[in-house]
């Protein structure tokens, strides 16, 4: 496989022109994010991704992980890569300076994490867990807990895990059984089993800090009875160093389809004396803490969609430029690379268009997070928080599904060589397959979108969003050179407004039909949002062209990509709309016994 190169031009264009880097840099606590510093960070991150993480991606896939007794052996190259990653300080990019981070806005960290995921998804899950755990501890941990654990999680000296799933409690955490019993010393002993724990055991760091959802003895039934505990692999001695081994054991690791370099562990807590744990936050508030982090976590997985799609696209493009096969359908000339076959070109241009749509959407949403967190005007902050809430299931659900499509299509470009593992593109396809599943499947995202984000608030935020998107279409319509794009966008917006109206008009008796159409609804909204973002991109490209700025070839290609999206992807919105309205009805009537 070819070397990964960070798509710096797209990143810079989107940050500067579309996702509002100058606005974000003007927010309180975001002042460091000046354009030249951001450019330097992206540049150096790109070098690290290309030079350190990308070259060991395939090795990690081939070697995988092994269980030796209770020890988990990760791919050989991981230790050196992790040490370099940690020493270079990348873990702290977006985390607060008081715990050793750099406190940069999400808009800056997003392209950097995209590079890590593109270059090596299985490896990157390890540092990603630290960031997730640091965010949880920042929300809920006591000052004393922060002092003990947080700086070491931010620096990466110790690794982190999240322990939610149990065999009977997957998407439904209400079924969690793990028990936590208070002791006389004021801490807790945990008993039970957790499965699917990424990096649940390894020896890359001298300690591992597990965050575990469990039930206290007096806990109410269901999700309201879950508390969050911090359970270290090694308990700390009097000096705060890893000391006695805690009663947590890795009893098996999964044999998976992809992300072979990331060990997926079954952890057994409390086989003998009970695993010592410390309550994080208030009792029974565990899920609430998880919910605060949920938007961030979903967003992170959405970024994995664009990241894997990008690497697949780069590989496919490289292959299509090299592989000579067949005759040119126009000139009859032999000896040309397959890129010149219209259908191969269709796949590559389509991939590029969807990548630009997803990336613009995700970076723009990263800017929303920053505005929601930091904007001094609460009304502005609230509006962006509403957009984050509404669209995170779409960022996760749609971008991961499209990311999978892109990996699939990249294999098609490779033809037979794509099915052969040595080209590396098959690995991307296998690695990508998990992203539509973990952090809530596409179905769960769609249910959340329909139920909590649209029906519960009677479509209020969606209507607000529709108005904003219509405003873009109106402005673009005024520019005769881009008016066709406005027409395409308006058509999609009408369709979305109609779907929204229909959803809101249905009564309780239609619940099964509505939820039967939830995933098509998510696809429809994703397709529309992608189109909206590409129209914005075309608008920005035209503006730069008019001012004689930037590379005209690149800017022309952005406009052409928006056009191709309108011609080839946007029409799918109408078929999704039909599936929402009609598919759900049929499904609701269909007897389960008829299968």
């Amino acid at each position: 496989m070819i070397d990964y190169q960070a798509p710096m031009r797209d990143m810079q264009f989107i940050l500067g022109e579309l996702a509002g880097l100058p606005d974000v840099a003007a927010l309180p606590h975001c002042e460091d994010a000046s354009p030249d510093l951001v450019a330097a960070i992206l540049e150096e991150a790109g070098k690290f991704a290309t030079g350190v993480l990308a070259p060991i991606n395939r090795q990690g896939d081939l070697e995988g992980c092994r269980l030796k007794g209770e020890r988990v052996i990760v791919p050989d190259a991981w230790q050196s890569a992790y040490d370099q990653f940690r020493e270079a300080g990348w873990l702290g990019l977006s985390l607060p300076p008081e715990f050793g981070g750099q406190g940069l806005p999400k808009l800056v960290s997003t392209p950097v994490w995209e590079m890590w995921f593109s270059s090596n998804m299985a490896f990157t899950m390890l540092p990603q867990l630290n960031v997730g755990q640091a965010e949880a501890l920042l929300i809920a941990a006591s000052e004393e807990q922060k002092a003990t654990w947080l700086a070491k999680i931010v620096s990466g000296e110790w690794a982190a895990t999240m322990n939610l799933t149990e065999p009977q409690a997957g998407s439904d955490l209400a079924a969690t059984r793990m028990r936590a019993e208070p002791t006389e010393e004021g801490d807790y002993r945990l008993y039970g089993q957790k499965i699917y724990i990424s990096y649940g055991e390894h020896e890359l760091t001298p300690n591992i800090v597990h965050l575990v959802l469990a039930r206290l003895p007096d806990a109410p039934e269901g999700v309201k009875g879950l508390s969050l505990f911090l359970v270290p692999k090694y308990r700390l001695d009097a000096d705060g160093n890893p000391g006695e081994k805690n009663d947590v054991h890795c009893i098996s690791i999964e044999h998976k389809m992809g992300i072979h370099g990331s060990p997926t562990c079954t952890l057994s807590f409390g086989d003998t004396e009970g695993a010592v744990g410390y309550l994080v936050g208030e009792p029974h508030q565990g899920l609430k803490i998880m919910f605060i982090m949920m938007n961030e976590a979903r967003f992170g997985v959405g970024v994995q969609g664009v990241a894997l799609g990008e690497r697949a696209y780069q590989s496919a493009l490289d292959y299509a430029q090299e592989r000579v096969q067949g005759r040119n359908i126009v000139s009859g000339e032999a000896g040309q690379p397959i890129l010149y076959h219209p259908d191969v070109k269709r796949m590559l241009v389509g991939m590029r268009a969807r990548l630009l749509a997803m990336r613009t959407f995700l970076y723009t949403a990263a800017g929303w997070f920053d505005i929601a967190h930091h904007h001094p005007d609460t009304e502005v902050a609230d509006k962006h928080r509403r957009y984050v809430d509404l669209l995170m299931p779409v960022a996760k659900g749609w971008c991961t599904e499209v990311g999978n499509e892109l990996c699939d299509e990249a294999i098609q470009v490779f033809g037979g060589m794509g099915f052969v593992e040595e080209t590396g593109v098959a690995q991307l396809f296998r690695d990508a397959r998990i992203i539509t599943i973990y952090e809530g499947t596409t179905g769960i995202q769609a249910n959340d979108l329909l139920g909590r984000k649209i029906l519960r608030e009677k479509g209020a935020t969606l209507h607000e969003l529709l108005d904003d998107m219509r405003a873009v279409a109106r402005v673009v319509r005024e520019d005769s050179r881009l008016a066709d794009l406005a027409v395409g966008l308006e058509e999609m917006l009408e369709g979305l407004a109609a779907t929204t109206g229909w959803l809101l008009a249905q009564g309780k008796e239609q619940t099964a039909a509505l939820y039967g159409g939830a995933v098509p609804l998510l696809y429809q909204l994703g397709t529309v949002v992608g189109g909206w973002q590409l129209v914005r991109a075309a608008q920005a490209a035209q503006r730069q062209l008019d001012h004689g700025e930037g590379d005209p070839d690149y800017l022309d290609s952005v406009i052409a990509l928006a056009r191709f999206y309108m011609a080839s992807v946007a029409p799918e919105a109408a078929s999704h709309a039909r599936a929402v309205r009609e598919g759900g009805q049929v499904l609701a009537q269909f007897p389960e016994t008829g299968l």
Partner: protein
């Protein structure tokens, strides 16, 4: 000991070079630029000398357009203490750069100047040698090892026949070859700090030098496209073709 390290902004080594349609020069519009890889090795060596306690201060220098400050910031992120930018929009070639550097050597009085042996844009391999001539300092070019011992430095040079070690009296000029070291990746906190490190901007006039090139660039042409090969049926046919068609053996 103060170490002066010269860096150059060049076209990124990953970029496929395009020639301008009128053949007047290489097309650099909207092309990704980066620090010359040999200069990265020079910065790394200077920083290592500082880490070993041999150097006390590392000063990164460049002669070039405003945008070349990006490369100085990179050098600062990698560990240089401060930077000097001799800003000019002129096309600077080896002699102009060497003249400006010679003035800076006079001002800064470094114990050692480290440069890349050549820049990957025009591959001249001259600036270090010219700087040595202009300053009258000893030179150790194509270094694959640099060992400072008191007032002396031993430079192992990569030459055609193998390795040659020369001993120079400091101050001295050293130019780096590929195998001298493997440059590190910049650390995020250092990238942040680099922004706040001092960066002086001077003009060639401030230094009293003329950096504009006296060499006129007549024409730039891309290398000829590679032609497809042919398969030969036998060794005899191969020898015949090499003799009579390619005329590379007689």
């Amino acid at each position: 000991m103060k170490v002066l390290v010269a860096v150059k902004r060049v076209i990124d080594y990953n970029v496929k070079i395009r020639v301008k349609p009128d053949h007047s020069d290489v097309d650099l519009t909207n092309v990704k630029m980066a620090m010359n890889p040999f200069c990265e090795i020079a910065v790394e060596e200077a920083v290592r000398l500082k880490e070993r306690g041999v150097a006390t201060e590392v000063v990164a220098v460049t002669v070039g357009p405003k945008a070349a400050q990006e490369q100085l910031r990179t050098a600062l992120a990698l560990g240089a203490d401060r930077a000097i930018h001799v800003e000019t929009d002129e096309r600077v070639e080896s002699l102009g750069a060497a003249k400006a550097l010679a003035k800076l050597v006079e001002e800064e009085q470094p114990g050692m100047v480290i440069l890349g042996k050549q820049a990957i844009d025009t591959d001249n391999n001259q600036t270090g040698q010219m700087l040595a001539a202009l300053t009258g300092l000893p030179q150790g070019t194509f270094a694959s090892a640099v060992d400072v011992d008191g007032e002396k430095v031993q430079v192992t040079r990569e030459i055609d026949g193998g390795l040659q070690t020369v001993e120079l009296t400091l101050p001295a000029i050293v130019t780096t070859d590929l195998r001298l070291n493997e440059p590190r990746y910049a650390k995020l906190p250092d990238i942040m700090k680099a922004k706040k490190k001092p960066l002086d901007v001077k003009s060639p006039a401030d230094l009293g030098v003329e950096v504009a090139s006296k060499v006129k660039l007549l024409k730039v042409e891309p290398p000829a496209e590679r032609q497809g090969g042919v398969k030969v049926g036998s060794v005899d046919e191969l020898v015949d073709k090499l003799k009579n068609e390619a005329k590379v053996i007689s």
